[in-house]
């Protein structure tokens, strides 16, 4: 089943900005918890990122996914939230496009569809962050790969399940 890739009505544009801000706030909350629990892996933060990237695309399609990603990355850069924020810009844009392309091929009614779309998003997004870890933090590529792989694995499974359940409840609530 093929679904539409684009949606440019006012509700989608405004929603992308507001949900982008929600994403930013939740990323900061999970980022602070990660800084104490797992500062190098950022499992919660990575999962939160993947979940929002998927949810926004499902709710408002493109270019809303890209706009929300840009809002999140730009505010993260402006507030000095992370030195990797510059790489979030690419991760958010590429991750969102990949999710759109994969989700448009499926009905997104089964958990496997969500996991598959999330896998593409998490792999491409974490690849961008991995480049940041190597270039900015001067981490050895093997360590950066291990860190990104772990975040991808956890993000794909947890965010895939979360996206399915929360998108389902949003559809039922008739808020969309």
């Amino acid at each position: 089943m093929k679904t539409k890739l684009f949606r440019t009505d006012t509700k989608a544009l405004v929603g992308s900005v507001i949900i982008g801000i929600v994403m930013l706030i939740m990323m900061q909350v999970t980022g602070r918890i990660d800084a104490i629990l797992d500062p190098t892996l950022l499992l919660l933060n990575g999962t939160c990122w993947a979940f929002f990237t998927g949810l926004i695309v499902l709710m408002y399609r493109q270019p809303a996914g890209i706009i929300a990603g840009v809002v999140e990355a730009v505010v993260a850069m402006a507030t000095g939230y992370s030195p990797l924020a510059f790489f979030f810009l690419f991760a958010n844009i590429i991750g969102s496009i990949v999710y759109s392309l994969i989700s448009s091929k499926f009905s997104m009614e089964k958990l496997s569809h969500h996991i598959l779309a999330m896998l593409g998003t998490a792999v491409t997004g974490n690849l961008c962050v991995m480049v940041g870890l190597i270039y900015v933090f001067h981490l050895d590529w093997k360590i950066a790969l291990l860190s990104s792989s772990l975040t991808t694995l956890v993000g794909t499974i947890v965010a895939g399940i979360l996206t399915k359940s929360i998108y389902g409840s949003l559809q039922k609530s008739s808020l969309l």
């Binding site: 440019t8 009505d9 006012t10 509700k11 544009l13 405004v14 929603g15 992308s16 900005v17 507001i18 949900i19 982008g20 801000i21 929600v22 930013l24 706030i25 939740m26 909350v29 999970t30 602070r32 918890i33 800084a35 104490i36 629990l37 500062p39 190098t40 919660l44 709710m59 270019p63 706009i67 809002v71 730009v74 505010v75 850069m77 402006a78 507030t79 000095g80 939230y81 030195p83 924020a85 510059f86 270039y135 900015v136 933090f137 001067h138 981490l139 050895d140 360590i143 929360i166 949003l170 609530s173 808020l175 969309l176």
Partner: protein, 245 residues
């Protein structure tokens, strides 16, 4: 010349230049020089570095994190200390310093660029880049809604606390994510629907173009600065590529 008098496109070119040098410079001396130039430019144009005070605290914490990561994982140089599986190599500290300097330049340049212009200037800049106004105007919307949404999240946390949700330790915060996040998300979706409707009723998106109360006009010194900055990038790229040919 004051910072506010410069065109946002000149500031964007400066930002690109700083990011380029932060990623392409390899030694601590080069990176320190780039950071110093950035700080001097900011001091010269704004007369104060007060707004970057908050950045120092973030960078100190980040520097500590990078140092720990390098001490634990770095395998370059000679082994200088071993304690069980923990091995510290001689290159760990220099790599941590360059990492911190690169991160500092990126954070500093980003703060410098995104706090130097008003949301309307950014909107006008996007319009000049031929971005349709329906998309360009979202900059202002984002700036307007950021404090509102933060206040809304805090009010949700407070209302959940009054219902007995504990938010004291890290573990409590972790457990408190779902009970606070879900109402926040549903409220945000409802708010975006209401805002979109209100904007459409006021004529947003009815016509293809719209007028603005102010306009961006690029000046001669802006053109000279942008050209000079791109020339520096081109010369730097050519000097890197030529030895490879």
């Amino acid at each position: 010349m004051r910072l506010s008098k410069l065109d946002p496109r000149t500031k964007l070119a400066w930002y690109v230049l700083m990011i380029y040098f932060s990623l392409s410079s390899g030694t601590a001396v080069q990176l320190s020089l780039v950071l110093l130039v950035g700080i001097m430019a900011s001091l010269f144009l704004t007369g104060s570095l007060k707004q970057y005070k908050v950045m120092i605290m973030i960078l100190l914490l980040l520097g500590l994190q990078i140092l720990i990561v390098q001490l634990v994982f770095c395998r370059e140089g000679v082994l200088i200390y071993q304690w069980g599986i923990l091995k510290i190599y001689s290159e760990a500290l220099p790599l941590a310093i360059t990492g911190v300097l690169k991160a500092s330049i990126i954070v500093f340049a980003s703060m410098q660029f995104f706090t130097s212009s008003s949301p309307q200037d950014f909107t006008l800049m996007l319009i000049k880049f031929k971005v349709p106004y329906r998309f360009a105007m979202l900059v202002g919307l984002g700036v307007r809604f950021l404090p509102l949404m933060k206040a809304e999240y805090i009010s949700i946390i407070d209302s959940q606390r009054t219902r007995g949700l504990r938010m004291e330790s890290v573990w409590d915060n972790l457990k408190g994510i779902f009970p606070t996040f879900l109402p926040f998300l549903y409220r945000a979706v409802r708010r975006s629907t209401e805002t979109a409707l209100a904007m459409e009723l006021r004529g947003y998106g009815r016509t293809k173009t719209r007028t603005f109360s102010s306009n961006l006009a690029i000046r001669h010194y802006d053109i000279a600065l942008i050209s000079a900055m791109f020339l520096v990038i081109v010369i730097s790229l050519v000097s890197r590529i030529l030895p490879l040919i």
